[in-house]
């Protein structure tokens, strides 16, 4: 942790980059092991995103963050706003995993899993299918506006927009039941808010993946700004082997380049052409590099054609480049990893111990206490019972904490439907001789009659004039 990576300082001054007018980047298509991994990532992640809302569980949408009903269904469990803790824990886990993997292998997230990358990849694929490869796209953009150009461009945007709208529908489908939503959309009877969010999210997809692309990473992404802080000299980064590559220069295949005093880099500029953020990795690691490994793939294929050993651009560490040993197991990894395991264990424990029942005790506001005709002290409460389970339950209420305390519950054992709230008015009475103090702590215990594990104890105050 002591060694700070200096590879991450932007070279040449950031102001230049920040204030430059954006030049459109046409990333060249790549083939290779990392390109295949990314495609796999795209297929799996998008498969999950588009498929999950359609999954059913117990006759209900399996994953439904039901905002209108203020209930979050996650397969067998239903969460409530009161369960905010779990959401917070999940977010902490996500952040810690990001720290862990960034320290280990740099911007893995960016290159392979970030929604920005994943959707841009799809949009690029559509663009390539319609407009052709990099050179054709550039030629088309330079060409004057003819009918053919309008047809091609229009077709591309049309498909992008349809795809974006479907993405918007899927997104909203996580928050309102998707089957009903799509049925309503088909005959235009959806609510105005749903329609708005489908359009809004669809527009965001279209804008981010179609137009903004690498600008999102460079100007908008908070992670891209601070990920450098998690790097050290043992972090896996994508790097050009300067010692081996320089001096760069073109040459004929099969010539003895070492004889001419040249390095392995043939200066074909392929690594620049494939880069989605338009940088030259040979200038060193830059903060614009999203770690997509496209330059590794393409450089390896060039090296293969030249019959040179692969790996002129490769995953390596600063220590390895300097010729020293790389330490994978270092304090930083233990700190991030340990914290991660701890929070995960805590969350797991909390979820397994979670009782799907919530009880609130509200004292009657009108009187502190009153005396009954038999001379007993009486306090009045409302017990608010929230059944957070996915089944209905019948509950039994008890009071304890003082000797000879008596509960008068006119409703007897009561049933609360799944996901419902019930207010139960009750009276608690005690003989003043049994009252030790003016203010006393008592406990209400609620147990489901069909499942003794579903139980909740809540403390309350019992107030009355003690005679002792």
């Amino acid at each position: 942790m002591s060694e700070k990576s200096d590879l991450h300082e932007p070279k040449g001054g950031m102001a230049d980059v920040l204030y430059e007018k954006r030049v459109k980047i046409y990333p060249r298509e790549v083939h290779g092991i990392f390109a295949r991994l990314r495609t796999l990532g795209v297929v799996v992640l998008l498969g999950i995103f588009y498929g999950l809302p359609w999954l059913r569980w117990d006759d209900r949408q399996a994953v439904l963050l039901d905002l209108p009903a203020r209930q979050f269904h996650l397969f067998g469990i239903t969460f409530w706003p009161q369960d905010f803790f779990y959401l917070a824990a999940l977010l902490i886990i996500a952040a810690l995993s990001l720290f862990f993997f960034t320290a280990l292998a740099g911007r893995l997230w960016c290159g392979f899993a970030c929604p920005q990358t994943v959707w841009t990849e799809v949009f690029l694929w559509i663009e390539r299918k319609i407009e052709g490869d990099r050179l054709r796209q550039m030629k088309l953009d330079r060409a004057p506006w003819t009918g053919r150009k309008m047809f091609i461009k229009g077709g591309k945007h049309f498909i992008w927009i349809v795809f974006s709208l479907y993405t918007g529908l899927t997104f909203v489908g996580y928050f309102t039941p998707i089957i009903e939503l799509s049925q309503k959309l088909v005959n235009f009877s959806q609510g105005p808010w749903e329609a708005f969010w489908v359009l809004f999210y669809g527009f965001a997809t279209y804008g981010n993946a179609g137009w903004l692309r690498e600008q999102v990473c460079i100007y908008m992404c908070p992670y891209a700004r601070f990920q450098g802080a998690m790097f050290d000299k043992d972090t896996l980064i994508i790097s050009y082997d300067e010692k081996r590559g320089e001096p760069r220069g073109s040459r004929k295949r099969g010539t003895d380049y070492q004889d001419k005093g040249l390095g392995s880099c043939i200066d074909c500029s392929m690594c620049v052409q494939v880069c989605p953020t338009g940088i030259d990795i040979r200038d060193g690691l830059q903060y614009q590099c999203i770690g997509c490994a496209a330059c590794i793939d393409v450089c390896d294929s060039v090296m293969e054609k030249m019959d040179y050993p692969k790996g002129l651009i490769r995953y390596t560490t600063e220590h390895a480049l300097e010729g020293t040993k790389t330490h994978v197991l270092r304090p930083r990894m233990f700190v991030y990893g340990g914290m991660l395991l701890l929070v995960m264990a805590a969350l797991l424990y909390a979820v397994t111990q979670r009782v799907p029942l919530d009880v609130d005790v509200i004292r009657d506001r009108n009187a502190l206490y009153r005396e009954t005709s038999e001379g007993l002290i009486e306090n009045i409460y409302t017990i608010k019972v929230i059944n957070k389970d996915q089944r209905d339950h019948q509950y039994h209420l008890q009071v304890s904490g003082l000797e000879n305390i008596k509960l008068i519950n006119r409703m007897g054992d009561f049933t609360v439907r799944s996901g419902q709230v019930l207010n139960v008015p009750i009276y608690v009475q005690i003989d003043p001789v049994d009252l030790p103090a003016t203010s006393n702590t008592i406990q209400f215990t609620l147990v489901a009659t069909d499942d003794a594990n579903i139980t909740h104890e809540e403390e309350a105050r019992f107030i009355g004039a003690a005679v002792r």
Binding site: M14, L18, Y19, L67, W193, Q215
Partner: protein, 96 residues
């Protein structure tokens, strides 16, 4: 980054799109967080039951809430950007 900027005050004007992003985007992020916290703590229907006012669905209330917060945070961003303008520019604009 600040040191770079200090040594090179506004080399070339920032493209409009990036200025718009710099204002809207941070506002979007913070208002998103604020919306989640607000509506976890308060149920919009309980609020409207207390305050009165027009009946609106929960989804509608969330949407209105989010966009009002976004408006507010955008205003903050705009002011930050405005006050961040180098004094030089203000002097020039005032004709001195």
């Amino acid at each position: 980054m600040s040191s770079v900027e200090a040594s090179k005050p506004v080399a070339k004007p920032t493209p409009v799109i990036q200025r718009v992003i710099a204002i809207l985007w941070p506002a979007f992020l913070t208002s998103g967080v604020a919306t989640i916290i607000t509506f976890t703590l308060f149920d919009p229907q309980e609020i409207s039951a207390c305050v009165g006012g027009p009946q609106i669905s929960r989804l509608g209330a969330y949407t209105v809430g989010f966009f009002s917060l976004w408006l507010l945070t955008t205003l903050t961003s705009v002011l930050t950007c405005y006050f961040q303008r180098p004094c030089e520019l203000t002097n020039r604009a005032n004709g001195s």
